[in-house]
């Protein structure tokens, strides 16, 4: 029989206060197979681990059980310790007597009884545990970065700089994302273009980066280290290899299309580049707006293009790539003003959102940096900024804080004051949140030196009265309502996931959280990874984020990819499903129940095999298998049976 050692942790007072750990050690020692037990105040500490290693050798243990906290926390710690002492890591098990016992009970006697049963259950499992070896998986050392905003650019550059190939996919025709729209950036007021465009150019020229703009992810299959990705290269109707970017076609195009980049404050032709600093600087034809595509007549662009780069016959192409790791950096959108009925539902021309105001402030924007309101071009003298427009409103809009608005609104008001000296900015807010480095100082300076009036209260209603826009707000600090006849109103609309996020996550088979942003594996300890292996997260796609935080996360995600690629192969946990080929009759009941697409029908053998690289060991197929052919390693039916018996107090 196996010689099992059990180590009972006090976890300071976390366990010992509620559970009589000495008694647990005594009782467990009476169980068959258990030859040694010991309690200790902090098992995970260095001396605690040393104790485990020492006793494995001294007592010639074949298996150890650590009765302590959740295996999520320290299973890997103790398995490593066991391995160091010469034990197979899968002969080390955790009995969770903290989260599942001491933390949730108060009756010491009953909690102690329960702890003994929990350990007894694991003793049963341990007796039948097999020694396992990790499954090696090869890695394709090429990364895919989805999204060409600052997050994607930064991730791509970091990976490429370390020597690995990267494909950077962007759905628009140029990389740059929202950051390219911004005027100046808080808290240092660097010009956004000045710090972004060099990075765009670097990404465009990097020998390890393959830029695929105007492209979208069509299909993803495979698993960490071995993804197959199908990418749709949308037809720009311009031969980019020929096109020199002279711009003549764009000048001549008679169509008028509202510019998405300029938040519809300007128009461009149906053939356009989104902004002059675009990378690559090549135009595309918007098929929906093109007069030729709509009426069959025009082709003016074709006539003026001397090098015959216009190609109305072009079709979408598909490319397939083998990829080792994927970074999702698909960015954010903002809540459309149309959704905010009490703020005019988008019908008031002088009620705009923050990104539109960025364009008004930008030196490369529609007004060349002069603040003029959309309705009549007047320089506004009374400007009201409304924060939390759709954020922190669980009843009607979004429940979360959009995080960046406090800072960018302060920046807006400050830049506005710099441009319109006799103007007065007002900011309505619920709280001012300035947690970043240098942010509080930035805010204080704006409040003290720039004469910005902060009003603590949420704006209830905005309506048009003549050429004025009336704002009804309150100031809870005086307990008085406030009414302002504004020339311009800027709404800090909620940061929301992009429209395409929901569709993309389905293709990638990764998760989103309750608000539609990408879900991280652990909010504190694994913030840049998806729960699904091989997917990493960067930027506002994971949640509202400012530029410094986005860049930090992008570099962190890149680091994770580089760390993955630095290995020769991956090690997959072998405690997963396996198939007894003699029992399997190929019924395929298991295939649809597998959430990871790990069950594959082998026609030749008429059985359903387990793709070991994809299997996460969830056990769904084991439960579904009608013939008992599918089993979990180290969680066999017989193990589970004896564990249930033990947990019910039987022998």
């Amino acid at each position: 029989m196996k010689r099992i050692g059990v180590f009972v942790c006090h976890c300071g007072i976390n366990i010992a206060e509620t559970v009589d750990v000495k008694r647990v050690a005594e009782e467990v020692l009476k169980m068959p197979g258990v030859v040694y037990t010991q309690d200790y105040i902090y098992m995970c500490s260095d001396p605690g681990q040393a104790l485990v290693r020492k006793k494995i050798k001294e007592e010639k243990l074949d298996a150890v059980i650590i009765a302590a906290c959740s295996p999520n926390l320290h299973e890997s710690t103790f398995r490593a310790a066991a391995e160091e002492a010469g034990l197979n890591p899968w002969q080390c098990e955790i009995a969770n007597i903290r989260e599942q016992c001491s933390w949730i009970h108060s009756n010491r006697k009953k909690a102690t009884e329960k702890a003994i049963k929990i350990v007894g259950t694991i003793v049963e499992k341990s007796r039948l545990n097999e020694s396992l070896e990790p499954i090696p998986v090869l890695i394709k050392k090429k990364a895919l970065v989805i999204g060409g905003g600052i997050a994607g650019i930064q991730s791509a550059l970091d990976i490429a700089d370390s020597g690995y190939k990267v494909i950077l996919v962007e759905k628009e025709s140029s990389i740059g994302g929202h950051m390219a729209q911004l005027s100046e950036t808080f808290p240092t007021l660097d010009c956004s273009q000045c710090i972004l465009t060099p990075k765009m150019v670097a990404a465009g020229k990097h020998q390890n980066i393959e830029l695929m703009t105007y492209s979208e992810i069509e299909e993803v299959s495979g698993y960490v280290g071995n993804f197959n990705v199908k990418i749709r290269r949308k037809a720009p109707f311009v031969d980019w290899d020929k096109c020199t970017g002279c711009g003549l076609c764009m000048e001549k195009c008679p169509a008028k299309v509202p510019s998405v980049f300029d938040r519809e404050l300007t128009t461009h032709g149906a053939i356009y580049v989104p902004f002059p600093q675009a990378v690559p600087n090549k135009p595309v034809i918007d098929k929906d707006s093109c007069i030729y595509f709509k009426t069959g007549k025009c082709r003016l662009c074709e006539k003026v293009c001397e090098i015959n780069a216009i190609d109305f016959e072009q079709e979408d192409r598909f490319v397939e790539e083998e990829i080792g790791a994927i970074i999702v950096a698909t960015g954010y959108d903002t809540l459309p003003i149309v959704d905010l009925a009490e703020y005019g539902a988008g019908d008031i021309p002088d009620v705009i959102d923050g990104l539109a105001f960025e364009r008004l402030l930008s030196a490369s924007g529609p007004t060349v940096g002069e603040v003029k309101r959309p309705s009549d071009g007047m320089v506004p003298k009374e400007v009201v900024f409304v924060q939390c427009a759709g954020s922190r409103d669980p009843e009607r809009y979004r429940p979360y804080c959009s995080k960046i608005c406090c800072m960018y609104t302060t920046k807006h008001a400050l830049l506005y004051k710099h441009r319109v000296h006799d103007g007065q900015p007002y900011i309505f807010y619920i709280d001012i949140r300035t947690g970043g480095k240098g942010y509080e100082e930035f805010y204080h300076n704006a409040e003290e030196e720039e004469g910005i009036i902060y009003l603590r209260g949420k704006v209830a209603k905005i309506f048009r009265d003549g050429d004025k826009t009336v704002v009804w707000g309150t100031d809870t600090l005086t307990g008085r309502n406030v009414e302002i006849e504004a020339d311009l109103v800027v709404l800090a609309t909620a940061v929301i996931p992009t429209d395409s996020t929901a569709e993309l996550v389905k293709k990638l088979r990764i998760q989103t959280g309750p608000n539609g942003f990408l879900a991280e594996a652990h909010p504190k300890l694994r913030p840049v990874e998806s729960i699904n292996s091989g997917f990493f997260l960067a930027g506002a796609a994971q949640g509202p984020k400012d530029i410094p935080e986005t860049v930090a996360q992008a570099s962190a995600a890149a680091c994770k990819v580089i760390s993955l690629f630095s290995r020769d192969h991956l090690e997959q946990d072998p405690a997963i499903a396996w198939v007894d080929e003699d029992l399997c009759n190929g019924c395929q009941t298991c295939v649809p129940v597998c959430p990871y697409d790990a069950r594959e029908y082998d026609e030749e053998k008429n059985i359903v095999i387990v793709n070991e690289a994809l299997c996460e060991g969830c056990g769904s197929c084991v439960a579904a298998c009608p013939s008992g052919a599918t089993q979990m390693r180290n969680l066999s039916d017989s193990q589970i049976k004896s564990m249930i018996t033990a947990s019910l107090g039987g022998k």
Binding site: K381, E382, D422, G423, Q424, Y426, I432, H444, E447, E448, G451, I453, R456, W472, D475, L477, T478, G479, R480, N481, V482, E483, I484, E485
Partner: protein, 147 residues
């Protein structure tokens, strides 16, 4: 809208903010006279928390500063707070933004006195009391609270 002479004004009308109101006039004068950066106040409320006379006031000191920020002169000078402040400087030494709140209070008293709001005249003192209070008290009260 035409003025309705028959109706009393509402109890709590909204403050109608304009750039003139918040950048000129009363607020500007308070800043000039007191030399204090009242816009620096971020309404932490520390001045009120530790004010020994807060229990006697109908509007707390932090709200007085707030009303200055929004240029609401009438709300301040027709209120008892500025007259109850005993100039003990407790708020001044504790203000995290370095505003000498006592100086602002002094300034507000001065503006109120200029506007003819005479809070405490010599005729209001009990002669028996006047005969025994140490002189700094008498000088102080008249300097602070009357013209």
């Amino acid at each position: 809208m035409s003025e309705n002479m028959g109706l009393a004004p509402p109890r709590n009308p909204p403050i109608k903010l304009t750039r003139k109101k918040v950048r000129a006039g009363f607020k500007k004068r308070v800043i000039e006279l007191s030399g204090q950066p009242v816009d620096a106040c971020y309404q932490c409320g520390n001045c009120s928390s530790g004010c020994p006379l807060a229990q006697e006031m109908s509007i707390l000191p932090n709200r007085i500063i707030r009303l200055v920020q929004l240029g609401q002169k009438d709300d301040i000078i027709h209120n008892d707070t500025i007259w109850i402040c005993a100039s003990c400087f407790q708020c001044t030494v504790r203000c995290p933004k370095g505003i000498d709140i006592q100086a602002v209070m002094d300034t507000l008293r001065q503006i109120a006195l200029e506007e003819g709001v005479d809070h405490f005249g010599p005729d209001q003192i009990d002669p028996e009391h006047a005969a025994e209070v140490p002189q700094p008290g008498l000088v102080g009260v008249y300097r602070k609270l009357s013209t």
